[in-house]
Amino acid sequence: MFLIKIFHFLKGYVILLISGHNKEEFLNSILKIGIKPIRMDYCDDGIIAALSVSDFFRIREADIRARVHILKKRGAVFVAKRLKKRKAFVVGMLAFVMMFALGSQFIWTVSYEGVESCDIQQLEKAVELAGLHEGMLKRNLKSGLEMKNIILNHTDNICWAWVYVKGTKAVVKVREDILPPEVFDPNVPCDIVAMRSGIIKRVITTHGKCVAAENQAVAPGDTIISGTYNFENEPGYQVHSAGVVEAYTEHVKTGTYKQNYCYKKYSGRKRRLVTLKFLKWELPLYLDGDIKYESYDSLQREYDLKLGKDYYPGLGIRVVTCEEYAVEKEPISYDVAAELAIKELEKEISRELLPGSKLIDRHEDVQKLDEETISVTLTMNFIEQIGTEKRIEEVTFIEPKTDRTAAGD
């Protein structure tokens, strides 16, 4: 239906009011000579019918007469006729179409997808090296495979990349390497050492030789399961140690806190810095760019003119809003301050914990230093698996005694 409407618009049509006593007979007679009204509707004054321009000039051929008034003229023919007088408008339209056609030959934005942990600056450099940058002609783009190879060769930690060109926008999609956790080669000799200090609760040795006793205090780096076997009379050998080491650990955190709550209070004073962007150029629409507020938040927003989903004709504005604030302090009670401090210290300790840790005991010590300052010490005891593999770097075998060989001989 929409296409038919466009077809009628291009062809041009007139909307007529057919009135008089013989309007139905008139319609029958025009149908007989092959004139087909586009649409018909009834109104109090008569019948409203739409006829194509070519059909309209043929209605004189009808045998029966009725009153016909032109209500509206629609279509490209009539629009063009009206625009003939408005030369500046036509020139503007043509300029716009030309700008549109010219603008669509360039890449105006480059965006990245799939970047999470890899170095974005390195990726941007690689993309530029691949010949892709804002404001470049689309036809100067290298082939997809060529760009892919350059990006892959100059960016670390990515395993796949491709450049998609959508309208005037280039989207660089990458897939990052998912590195497997470091696993020691089971053939490489290693010890199990303590990651942090603690008191050994128990050691389950599956491979190697346990050298630490229960309730023994260990420091970080101390060997708990050794992979080196030394014998008095035989040559020693090394194995890949394995086992579980559970130890009691203690985490202590201390902090000094004020008995007040700080928050931002906005004064309501704002300043907007608007910059006009056109293609690669920027035109600041302000005279003084200095913000004279003591402390302020700034929010940057970009508004790009877009036609459709992906077409960006290169015109846009950037608005930076600076909002002044003052830091206000509100007194809080001793209990609330202590609670907030303990929560913060808990968070700090939780960052240090090893996976699978079990809390066994905790102790909080809150002391008032002065009227508005408190000192909080949080002690938490856990059972943690502190064992970690450490490669045996130096081979320290004890040479077997030569006496045995001599005795044998």
Partner: protein
């Protein structure tokens, strides 16, 4: 007429072709498609009368507008209450 009908029945030819009678197709109560009519007799917002070989077809309802009209076929849209053959 009867002979023509008998022939069309025996040869399984559609009646509207051999007998020159109208074919009326209703789509719910919102659209009616009439083929093989002879002339438009009356067109108003509430009723449309069409002449056919054996009499008049009257379509009654509300808010009628003619979507398509040609020689021998017409599509009328609106709220159709009744289609009468007078």
């Amino acid at each position: 007429m009867d002979i023509a009908r008998a022939i069309s029945d025996s040869m399984e030819i559609p009646c509207e072709v051999t007998l020159d009678i109208p074919k009326i197709t209703l789509v719910g109560n919102m659209r009616v498609h009439i083929e093989n009519y002879l002339a438009l007799v009356e067109y108003k917002k509430e009723n449309i009368k069409l002449k056919y070989k054996g009499g008049i077809i009257e379509v009654c309802g509300q808010d009628f507008d003619i979507r398509t009209i040609g020689e021998g076929n017409i599509v009328v849209c609106g709220k159709i209450d009744a289609v009468k053959l007078i």
